[in-house]
Symmetry: none
Subunit: 234 residues, 2 copies
């Protein structure tokens, strides 16, 4: 896996340069945005692993951008570090309230920056959940990377595993194929929507016991939904 990508959002070019140099020294990949709109576009397109966000931005304030990002399910998981100037410290609490995961007061040393950043990244950690995910008799243990139904091991390919993981953490919710591609395949891949169907089928096949599969429902005209079928008509 390549290095983490950090998105720098600041309107002052010298600050961006400084940040970029510090981060690239520490082997991070950097993206830069000068304003909230560009930042938003980059977040969607590039899915950075972390966002360094200046409190003050010319257009929308950084706070507002943070709030927006945290509200959007697609981007909510990305940690945000706020940059606030000395005098703005009062705001830091508010900054945290908006969903930022940490704040750094300017001026700061590159070392401090990198340290904080590492800490936040570590905390956000590998997004693999530690607890087993379950639904009905189905259990997916992220640690051992195993799936069982009523204790019987089930096996499937990597993609199906990721798909199932996603579904288990988002049960009862209908997703379009596009959304599934975004979440399970990861943003900018160019893959046919129909491909989702195929993997759904593979997953269904894997989850079939006694010729029955009680987990994935087709939502016609929309996509799919994962939920344990409560009752079955006979």
């Amino acid at each position: 896996m390549h290095n983490k990508t950090i998105l720098i959002v600041d309107d002052e070019a010298p600050v961006r340069d400084m940040l970029r140099i510090a981060l690239e020294m520490a082997d991070y990949r950097c993206l830069e945005a000068e304003n909230a709109q560009a930042a938003h576009a980059l977040v969607i397109d590039e899915k950075p692993d972390l966002i360094l966000l200046d409190w003050m931005l010319p257009d929308v304030s950084g706070v507002e951008l943070a709030r927006r990002l945290k509200r959007d399910e697609l981007t909510a998981a990305i940690p945000i570090i706020m940059l606030t100037a000395k005098g703005e410290e009062d705001h830091k609490i508010k900054g945290l309230e908006t969903g930022a995961d940490d704040y750094i007061t300017k001026p700061f040393s590159p070392r401090e920056l990198v340290a904080r950043l590492k800490a936040v990244l570590r905390r956000a950690g590998p997004s693999t959940p530690e607890e087993p995910l379950t639904a009905g008799g189905l259990v997916l243990d992220p640690i051992s990377h195993r799936v069982t139904i009523n204790g019987n091991p089930v096996d499937m390919g990597p993609t199906e595993f990721r798909l199932l993981t996603f579904f288990l953490s988002h049960q009862e919710r209908a997703y379009t194929r596009t959304q599934l591609l975004d979440h399970v395949w990861g943003g900018n891949v160019y893959v046919e929507e129909r491909t989702v169907d195929v993997h759904i089928r593979r997953l269904r096949k894997a989850l079939t016991v006694d010729g029955h599969e009680r987990y994935i429902q087709t939502v016609r005209g929309t996509g799919y939904r994962f939920s344990v079928q409560t009752a079955e008509r006979v």
Copy 2:
């Protein structure tokens, strides 16, 4: 659902060709305009889903066109991607400020174009309401895309689902068939008015419990109204 329509606005024919080819490969429908005026006309007539707009145009600059489109309520919702040449990068910020949703710097690869475009379209995507809509014992949950009456699942086709969604958010109000076609089917479709009757019937059938349906009333000479029948005459 048919494919998205993209409007290409560029004064250089070779560029337009290149774009069109790339887009048609990716199965988008393309419209082309050579100048701002033609573009504006096409936007009104065809309601493209996205506009690819060159920064430099012979008559009005692309920026100006974007600004105009974003100012008009009818067209404001259409995402715009700006094409800027290498040297014009300084302008990109300005481009975003005018209301463009993204920018691409020439030269770019077809893959990048399509990826960006998809991202923008996705972002613009339909915003589903988050809260369940209810009426009497009827509950429609937009998230799970499910309908229940007193807890019992109800099932219906996509059109009926949309129709019900519309009714639930506009209860107690009579709509003509034409209005329903506009709102539920979406403007520019040519569909017989009587078709509404049929879907109303289908929806009624789906909402029938114990031979009774208490939600949709016929407003003779006008159309239909959704409202929970409070009492039932015996």
